[in-house]
């Protein structure tokens, strides 16, 4: 009798999971559907950039939401990807290879951030990542002082001039929607796969992960590099679409944007942050908000979301096995050895 009841509840859970997966897949493909419906060039250009921004937000969600390493300097791999693509485009390199260079740049800078912060508590990780992106922002501003345009050209005037694609807004928007959909589906698969398991385990209990033979520091580094690679791709695509790589790509509002999207959408859920980022980016473009205005809006949104429900306003990251580690785990909770337990209190 009991076995029958267990089997029935397992079947019901499985059915719920399948229904939930279908619902998630439908949400992943929502931007693509929107692109097929819209025909206005201006609207398509807005949707294209919103798609790339959503991809960037998803990359942060992998880092902050899934692996529990909140970064306030994710603009660094995004901007590095954009600048490297722009440099490659200026030296007449094919744009596909420029994009690969952007991904490599994002991976390296993300990896460097991970290397600097792999043993830090989340609070100091936030400080260090913020400092790295601000450094890059200041350097890019100094670089821009020598360049009359205030940045580097990123492949022609504007628009996606990629081989095999006609330079039309509809093609660019389709590419953005496809990249975003593939990124979301890929990351949802990755999070549940055996590759994502060490990341989730390290996030929820590093000591248990270590006792299972997982190298926690290396896993964190890999998360940073992977998130950096996706951010680099998003940055590179943005640079090609807008035709420029500019210092604000490294700015604090760029770093804050995916954090806001993730906290509102539900950290670690990928879908919530992507859809929130898509709406936020499109809204900011329609309203034509300047950098400082965006920063003020993002700050106010994050203050409200942080005070009301840091675990996510739209979706709850905890239900998906993710979430930002807002609460400090006591050494007793985390099962840390006694010697480290003294260290954690900081006395």
């Amino acid at each position: 009798m009991n076995a029958e009841r267990t089997a029935r509840s397992r079947d019901a859970r499985r059915r719920r999971e399948i229904a939930s997966d279908r619902w998630r897949l439908a949400l992943c493909l929502a931007p693509a559907a929107l692109v097929l419906v819209v025909s206005d060039r201006f609207a398509l250009s807005i949707l294209t950039l919103a798609g790339f921004q959503a991809l960037y937000a998803v990359s942060w969600d992998l880092l902050g939401g899934l692996s529990g390493q909140p970064s306030l300097g994710h603009a660094l791999p995004f901007g590095a990807g954009a600048y490297l693509v722009a440099v490659a485009a200026e030296s007449r390199a094919p744009l596909w290879s420029a994009l690969v260079l952007g991904i490599v740049g994002g991976t390296v800078t993300g990896g460097l951030q991970g290397k600097a912060g792999r043993r830090l508590s989340p609070m100091f990780l936030v400080l260090v990542t913020f400092a790295t992106a601000e450094c890059a922002h200041e350097f890019s501003r100094l670089l821009a002082a020598f360049d009359s345009g205030g940045g580097l050209a990123g492949g022609g005037e504007a628009g996606l001039l990629l081989p095999g694609l006609a330079p039309e807004e509809s093609n660019a928007a389709r590419l953005a929607a496809a990249t975003l959909g593939a990124g979301m589906v890929g990351l949802l698969w990755f999070a549940r796969s055996r590759f994502g398991l060490p990341i989730r385990l390290t996030r929820s209990d590093p000591w248990a992960a270590a006792s299972s033979g997982i190298d926690a520091a290396r896993t964190r580094l890999v998360s940073f590099a992977l998130a950096g690679a996706i951010a680099g791709l998003a940055g590179g695509l943005t640079a090609i679409e807008t035709g420029r790589a500019v210092p604000p790509m490294f700015s604090v509002e760029t770093s804050l944007f995916p954090v806001v999207a993730s906290v509102i959408g539900g950290p670690g859920t990928f879908i919530g942050p992507a859809l929130t980022a898509f709406v936020m980016a499109a809204g900011a473009q329609v309203l034509d908000l300047s950098g400082p205005e965006r920063l003020a809006v993002y700050s106010l949104l994050l203050i409200v979301a942080g005070l009301i429900s840091p675990a996510g306003l739209l979706l709850s990251g905890a239900r998906f096995g993710g979430g930002i580690p807002w609460r400090t785990r006591s050494p007793r909770e985390s099962g840390a050895p006694a010697a480290d337990a003294e260290v954690v209190t900081g006395e």
Binding site: A131, W207, A217
Partner: protein, 283 residues
């Protein structure tokens, strides 16, 4: 030689003002275990208070009193509305406080505009053994020194004992009859007042823009990172060293380089001192 003496004198006076802001940040970290990333906004608020004072023909130093009052009240408000609600969630508190600082920047831009403003020195400079020192700069450093000394003395009194007890172990402090929550609010407000005073004292040394709080925030973070989080003595020693370094950097390089140097210092020191003192992340 004269240049070195000039830089040394300027650096010492400058670093005393910074020590005041950094001491406040250290106090907050010690009692609340929160990195107050809105500290720079309070420095900027103080600087704008000094600017308003000079518009009435008063010296910048006169702006310190309204700056202290505004810093105290707003700091206590922030503690009650934000830090208290996010108690036990230091990361959420740090990020929300940083966002408050960015929102404050927008507020400063609305109130005073985005164009740079300056606070003039009203008194002619003094020439002491070939070294040029502004009397207002000297008075500002004396005020900052006095406040730091007063804070160190207060920490040794009965009220200071309550602060130290609440910082060391809030639960034991509550059992001893100390209202730890009220102590934390008072410390947060006082520390924000110290940052605002430091801002008004530093205001004649730079230009006032809404984002001016970022450099003091980074330098204050660098100071507490170098001195050790929560260690007041370390923070004061580090502020002297970093203040001198920032003055030397400012003398030979453009202002962005001072900011970049401060950021690189924060990265290098935090990353290198990560293990084991600040690691809560396991192996």
């Amino acid at each position: 030689m004269k240049t070195a003496a000039q830089i040394l004198a300027g650096g010492v006076l400058f670093s005393i003002d910074y020590a005041l802001a950094a001491a406040g940040l250290t106090l907050i970290f010690r009692t609340s275990r929160v990195l107050n990333l809105s500290h720079g906004a309070f420095v900027a608020l103080g600087a704008y208070c000094a600017y308003e004072a000079t518009r009435f023909g008063l010296p910048a130093l006169a702006g310190a009193a309204p700056a202290a009052a505004a810093g105290l009240l707003l700091g206590m408000l922030v503690e009650c509305l934000v830090v208290r609600r996010l108690r036990g969630q230091p990361l959420a508190a740090a990020i929300v406080l940083l966002c408050l600082a960015f929102a404050a920047e927008a507020g400063f831009a609305l109130a005073w505009g985005r164009q740079p403003r300056s606070v003039p020195f009203r008194q002619p400079p003094l020439l002491i053994h070939g070294v040029v020192i502004g009397p207002e700069e000297l008075a500002a450093s004396a005020v900052a020194c006095g406040i730091i000394l007063a804070m160190l003395l207060v920490l040794r009194t009965r009220a200071g004992l309550a602060v130290r007890a609440a910082a060391a172990d809030p639960e034991i402090a509550v059992l001893a009859g100390i209202d730890a929550g009220r102590v934390r609010t008072a410390v947060f407000g006082t520390a924000c007042a110290m940052a605002a005073i430091a801002g008004s004292l530093l205001s004649p040394l730079g230009t006032l823009v809404p984002t001016m709080g970022r450099l003091p925030l980074v330098l204050s973070c660098a100071i507490i990172v170098v001195g050790g989080p929560g260690r007041l003595g370390g923070a004061l020693a580090a502020s002297l060293a970093l203040g001198l370094a920032a003055t030397v950097a400012g003398h030979y390089a453009l202002p962005p380089w001072t900011y970049i140097a401060g950021l690189l210092l924060v990265i290098a020191v935090t990353a290198s001192r990560a293990s084991p003192a600040w690691s809560t992340r396991g192996p």
